[in-house]
């Protein structure tokens, strides 16, 4: 565990108590989404009232309070709606590591209509324009864990 704060020397003034806590989260209804990611697919639940698709999927529509039982494949491409790059070291909450982040994060509207975020292969943010088409580049099947970062990054589609 790497945390960059100067260690206090005098426990009668202040002290630290480092801990690692392991949580076990049940995905429940979202398990299907995780299985789909392992298969290289992005799926979303669709609201029966307004047809909006949500990623990550939800068992109940947050706006209309009805069960969403229809799943829709979202395709492999998305339109860029926003992009930003982090210019300072930030903690990776998965490892406790303080590190720098080379790739921008992009917000996309997928082919099926759902919206999601992802890492972008293009590190020059001046080349990213709202509306441009990006496609998913996946990890090799044996490395996928059923997490959103099974999509390694999104890459601009060659014209």
């Amino acid at each position: 565990m790497v945390l960059k704060k100067e260690e206090p020397q005098d426990p009668s003034v202040a002290f630290r108590y480092p801990r690692v806590i392991t949580y076990k989260h049940s995905l429940g209804y979202q398990s299907k989404f995780a299985h789909a990611l392992k298969m290289g697919r992005i799926i979303a639940t669709k609201c029966p009232v307004d047809g909006r698709c949500t990623v990550p999927p939800r068992i109940v529509c947050p706006m209309h309070h009805v069960r969403q039982t229809e799943w829709v494949d979202q395709g492999q491409r998305g339109k860029l709606t926003s992009a930003f790059k982090i210019n300072f070291p930030m903690f990776d909450s998965r490892t406790g590591e303080l590190k720098t982040w080379e790739n921008p994060i992009v917000s996309l509207e997928l082919e099926g209509g759902a919206k999601m975020d992802g890492w972008c292969a293009e590190t020059d943010t001046s080349k990213l324009k709202p509306g441009m088409l990006l496609e998913a580049v996946w990890r090799p099947p044996e490395e996928r864990k059923g997490r959103v970062d099974d999509i390694l990054y999104w890459k601009p589609v060659e014209k």
Binding site: M1, L3, K5, P8, D10, P11, S12, V13, A14, F15, R16, Y17, P18, R19, V20, I21, T22, Y23, K24, H25, S26, L27, G28, S31, K32, A34, H35, A36, M39, R41, I43, W71, V72, D73, G75, Q76, R77, K79, S93, R94, T95, G96, E111, G112, L133, G146, R147
Partner: protein
């Protein structure tokens, strides 16, 4: 966009998944000036100091700055002998992470002579099966002290 083929989702499994996620924490605890005096007296003078409330006259150890009963600010320090009576204890026979000792060990609440409160600490220097409520206790200090409550290694029967 033309690439979207509405593929069927029927072949995607629905088995429930449980994921393990690890959280790392390394929080800092600030003692404050009152607690600092308590700990430095232990470190430098092997002395246990209580603090006295000016209005209800209670003596608290470990000390705090405000009286919990009447909220008055306290500043009168009282040196205690360090000896006391064992109010209650527990013998821990299972292993938990981040504990100061390996099981089995005992810890308890000792009401120090002269104080109105009990102090929680380890119990040692005695057979774990022979500890009894009401025993007279006294602190055993470590040779090398840093300014922490663990500068007292344990309380043993006096």
């Amino acid at each position: 966009m033309t690439h979207h083929d509405k593929k069927s989702v029927a072949d995607i499994p629905e088995e429930p998944i449980v994921v393990e996620v690890q959280a790392y924490s390394n929080f800092l605890v600030t003692i404050g000036n009152t607690g600092n005096k308590f700990l430095t007296e232990i470190r430098d003078n092997k002395a246990l100091m209580g603090i006295k409330c000016p209005s209800c006259k209670k003596i608290y150890i470990p000390p705090r700055t405000h009286c919990p009963t009447c909220f008055a600010r306290m500043s009168e320090w009282v040196k205690l002998s360090g000896k006391g009576t064992l109010e209650t204890f527990a013998v821990v026979r299972y292993q938990e992470p981040y504990m100061p000792k390996e099981a089995p060990y005992a810890y308890g609440v000792i009401k120090l002579d002269g104080a109105d409160t009990g102090i929680v600490h380890m119990i040692g220097g005695v057979d774990l099966n022979k500890i009894k409520v009401g025993m007279k206790m006294e602190p055993v200090f470590k040779e090398h002290r840093e300014g922490s409550i663990l500068d007292i290694e344990y309380f043993k029967p006096a």
